[in-house]
């Protein structure tokens, strides 16, 4: 049963916009589903067991709705069928620190300062940005940019044409684009990083855990890896049309592989694994800036 709960609307028409303020009880690790097609959403966290929504809606955006319970809540902007224009919303939403948030938009921008919970955001063209601490972050867009700057366990980042930027430290990072570049700078050692693009460049700066794995693969772009010189890893590099520019490892260690354009070798005990594949680009191996 769908229930409309505890919604307070303070209608104060300013030009063609309506101010909204709404609140509802929400469990500390409650699930919140946000459906805001257009506009901008800023998500923040706090140490209270409730959700607070404040902001403005265009006249054509429709009305703000809250449905559900303390454990699972849906917040949406319901646009009337007769409305003209995209109907922008500009909302600041505050949720419990450990809440599990799922955002869905079309052109809406999503800016989240996570407090330790889980964040999933999907848009068609809107920019996605998550900072802070997120146990899990899943950010997917077709045409927007994706920016992640978190301490977290797992992150999955997707865009077709946008740029992916990831900073902070994520244990298990999976990032993929079609034609947008991947710029990854990890502040420590990761367990797994899988970076993929069809036509764009991939840049990774960071380190791997002793049993960590880094896979960087692009068909048409360059791969630039800035790693710790003493990394003990098994390396598999394939670069069928380009060049291996090695400034990280002693040349004597870098041995050719079984096929043309391939290199396979081991440094130290070889416990970590580094796989690089590019069809046309250049592979560059360099020491991290602080270790030059």
């Amino acid at each position: 049963m769908r229930t409309l709960l505890a919604l307070t609307l303070l209608a104060a028409p300013l030009a063609a916009q309506t101010s909204v303020t709404a609140g509802h009880a929400l469990a500390p690790a409650g699930a919140v589903r946000l459906v805001i097609p257009h506009g901008r959403v800023q998500l923040r966290t706090w140490d209270r067991d409730s959700i607070l929504i404040r902001g403005r809606l265009d006249a054509s955006a429709g009305t703000l709705t809250l449905e559900g319970s303390r454990e699972a809540l849906r917040v949406g902007v319901a646009r009337p069928a007769t409305a003209r224009g995209l109907g922008q919303a500009d909302l600041e939403i505050t949720v419990p620190r450990e809440a599990r948030v799922a955002f869905t938009g079309l052109s809406a921008e999503f800016d989240c300062e996570a407090g330790g919970g889980e964040v999933t955001a999907t848009t068609t063209s809107g920019r996605l940005r998550v900072t802070g601490t997120a146990r899990v972050a899943v950010l997917e867009t077709l045409d927007g940019n994706v920016e992640l700057a978190v301490q977290g366990r797992t992150a999955r980042l997707r865009t077709a044409t946008g740029t992916i930027v990831a900073r902070g430290l994520v244990e298990d990072l999976d990032a993929s684009s079609v034609s947008g570049p991947l710029l990854i700078g990890m502040e420590g050692a990761v367990r797994s990083a899988r970076l993929e693009s069809t036509s764009a460049a991939i840049s990774f700066k960071g380190d791997l855990l002793p049993d960590g794995r880094l896979v960087a693969e692009t068909h048409g772009g360059d791969v630039d890896l800035r790693l710790r010189p003493g990394l003990e890893a098994t390396w598999a590099i394939a670069n069928w049309g380009g060049v291996l520019d090695n400034r990280l490892l002693p040349q004597a260690l870098v041995k050719k592989g079984a096929h043309k354009g391939e290199w396979g070798f081991v440094t130290g005990r070889g416990t970590a694994r580094v796989e690089v594949r590019t069809f046309k680009g250049t592979v560059r191996l360099e020491p991290r800036p602080q270790e030059r």
């Binding site: 077709l142 044409t161 693969e217 068909h219 069928w240």
Partner: protein, 205 residues
């Protein structure tokens, strides 16, 4: 050999790369073990299905559906007589439909020469899923905004170009595992792109 050891060698048996001594042991086991024999037969059937994939994919009526009707020029109309704001979405629909179909045809027309069994198995899976998704998406592209259609179309073109280049390379170097991995990654990316486009259409409608 144990059942697991036999099963682990079935791909190599189908590939024709199993050493003679091991092949004899596998054949002896298959003659006596119905369960492993079924696995070997299922693998052979899969490979036969993959080889039987159509060399050409003609778009059926259901695929074009309303798209073709909307694209078909009226007998009395010329392109220049169609108001631009109505014509452009039609052009975009045509572009995306062509790219979707083109990609599927590209995949089906250009199977790499004699790849490994594992690769063939994965390729067949992606081909089937990709074609299904392309059909579902092309059936009613009207719900995707024109700019989103354009993004999807451009992105599919980029992926399909990469697939064509990787397949060309794999034909020249058929048993290169790195090239197989690259190609499978592109198939997976194409599939994921179609899934996201389908999801975007669902969200927009």
């Amino acid at each position: 050999m144990t059942h697991d050891e036999i099963l682990a060698r079935l791909d190599a048996r189908a590939d024709g790369t199993l050493p003679a001594g091991e092949l004899a042991a596998v054949e002896r086991h298959l003659a006596e073990c119905a369960a492993c024999r079924r696995e070997a037969e299922a693998l052979a059937a899969l490979l036969a299905d993959a080889r039987a994939l159509p060399r050409e994919l003609a778009p059926g009526r259901d695929l074009w559906g309303g798209i073709e009707d909307r694209l078909a020029p009226r007998a009395t109309a010329t392109v220049s007589s169609i108001p631009p704001r109505r014509w452009r979405p039609r052009l975009l629909a045509a572009v995306i439909a062509a790219v979707l179909l083109g990609g599927a045809v590209l995949l089906l027309l250009r199977p790499p020469a004699r790849p490994s069994v594992a690769f063939t198995r994965e390729q067949a899976r992606y081909l089937a899923a990709s074609t299904d998704l392309a059909r579902a998406l092309a059936r009613d592209p009207g719900h995707l905004a024109p700019e989103t259609q354009a993004v999807v179309g451009r992105s599919l073109s980029v992926v399909d170009q990469a697939i064509a280049e990787a397949e060309e390379a794999l034909r020249a170097d058929p048993r290169n595992p790195g090239l197989e991995q690259m190609l499978l990654a592109r198939y997976a990316q194409r599939l994921e792109l179609l899934q996201r486009a389908t999801e975007a259409k669902r969200q927009a409608s």
